[in-house]
Symmetry: C2
């Protein structure tokens, strides 16, 4: 069932797929995290508040889909999928802090520090980041991808050369005029790195071949960049209500964004091109990458 | 060469021992961390600023000493030793933030956020916590203590049930009247957990027996508590100059401390008793635990 790159399988029911996978991921996260009643309950309430604030679970779903694309069992990718989601959530909590982006709303709800105070919000982020590695250690390891490799993978993507580097560059870029090259540097780190890590860990959970891992890396990199370009576009074109976070914030903070640098139309073309490249990376998986393709398609067309 | 618990070997040259081990640890940390020139250099400068601010390296030295006590090679404990020090340093950076303890000085130098600003200080802590797991993954694993076990060990000690829990309880206890039981709860989490983790990881690096691991756990727990009681005492009795941080801060912030709850004299007796228990835990190691004994002795008598 060969088909052109750039169009996902119309028969694939993404809504049903997302529904079942998000449920599976939420159940796993709930089981991995200490209950909200566990002492000190403030911290577990705060960690759970952001973790269960209605995130799209994009990264963990991509992780499961990557495992399936490589012929593996999705449930074996659940631990890395949850670990990545914990890292993602921690980064949002810290990113929203007054000393960083100073955001009051996230996913339509008050941000963590608005509810629990700055001290607890910092600690909730710290707790989730630490929890991520505890969860990851509970993955199934393979001789080709032992726990050592899995931990290095996540630590590198989340560390000072990638995710943290992106936050730093973002912070330092505020109010400055950045060029496209500098903006891409930020996006690669802030978004692509962890997204790429999610699909790579998914592949590793399925004991993927080195060639499959390369293809997933290529896919994750381009989907991650596309995702961030679209995020920039939506900040300009959507209302706060629809986004569940403060719209127009980037422009107000004089943040460099794709639309600000190259305009809306060219930004849209860039996003489409990146998504196309992501599709192309999936060719080696043939019929098995339906879910990954549908997810990429959905990301390009999303409105929040 | 049997001797009483409670007295360390007078022939053991602790100064020379500390000197050589601290050098070894500093070299290893320098090699593990990205250079200060690596982009984005702000974050690596900030991470290194706190990591090389003249810390006593107590936890990593204890980690090496524990490996030696179990008959292992100290150099095989270097990775876990450095990982624990990164966790310790991250916790200090976040603890010093305005939203937490709001401290301007640490080890005689301005705190991280005073030099780099709050945003970068939060990220430097995040970077160090993540780096810790990357370093730990580079440990030698043994069939009895695979990387999975090592990562779980550090993640648990640093996580929301222990280190982070201690910070939360500390934050929530400010200005409240705590009893000795509640204060010990904080100390066990804020200090004992990571210190205990350091000696346990040292033992694991030496492929220790389960009995040795139990003894190290007992030792670490009691040394950790003793260490914190002494910290409380020094805050009352020493000058800021000698401590390298703001003295009398606990009293000013109306923080619960041992001296505040049971008075100075009883606090000293408690510290001595805890140190004695730590010594007793070392009996199974016979002559091999010289360094651990000398370190416990040094901690009890320290003045900063």
């Amino acid at each position: 069932m060969k088909k052109d790159a750039g169009t996902s399988d119309k028969n694939f029911d993404l809504a049903a797929y997302l529904d079942s996978r998000v449920k599976m991921i939420n159940q796993a996260l709930d089981a991995f995290l200490p209950k909200a009643t566990v002492k000190p309950s403030t911290i577990h309430k705060a960690m759970r508040y952001s973790l269960f604030a209605g995130g799209k679970r994009l990264r963990p779903v991509l992780c499961l889909a990557a495992a399936a694309a490589c012929g593996g069992e999705e449930r074996e990718a659940l631990a890395p999928a949850c670990a990545v989601e914990c890292v993602h959530t921690y980064s949002l909590i810290h990113d929203d802090l007054p000393a960083m982006d100073n955001d009051d709303f996230r996913r339509g709800k008050p941000t963590n520090h608005k509810v629990f105070g700055e001290g607890i919000a910092i600690l909730a982020g710290d707790g989730l980041l630490t929890q991520a590695f505890e969860i990851l250690a509970q993955s199934r390891g393979w001789p080709r991808y032992p726990h050592k490799t899995l931990v290095m993978e996540l630590a590198k993507a989340a560390g000072s050369l990638w995710l943290v580097a992106g936050q730093v560059a973002d912070l330092e870029g505020e109010g400055r005029k950045l060029n496209l090259h500098q903006l891409r540097y930020i996006h690669e780190r802030k978004t692509s790195a962890l997204l790429c890590c999610a699909v790579r860990l998914g592949g590793m959970s399925a004991n993927c071949s080195p060639a499959q891992l390369d293809a997933l890396t290529d896919f994750g990199y381009h989907v991650g960049l596309a995702f961030q370009v679209i995020d920039d576009i939506l900040d300009v074109t959507q209302t706060s209500e629809k986004l569940g976070k403060t719209a127009g914030k980037d422009a107000k903070a004089q943040k460099a964004t794709y639309p600000a640098i190259v305009g809306l139309e060219r930004s849209r073309r860039i996003a489409a091109k990146l998504t196309h490249k992501a599709y192309a990376a999936l060719r080696p998986f043939k019929g098995r990458a339906q879910a990954l393709e549908a997810l990429a398609d959905y990301l390009l067309k999303r409105e929040n």
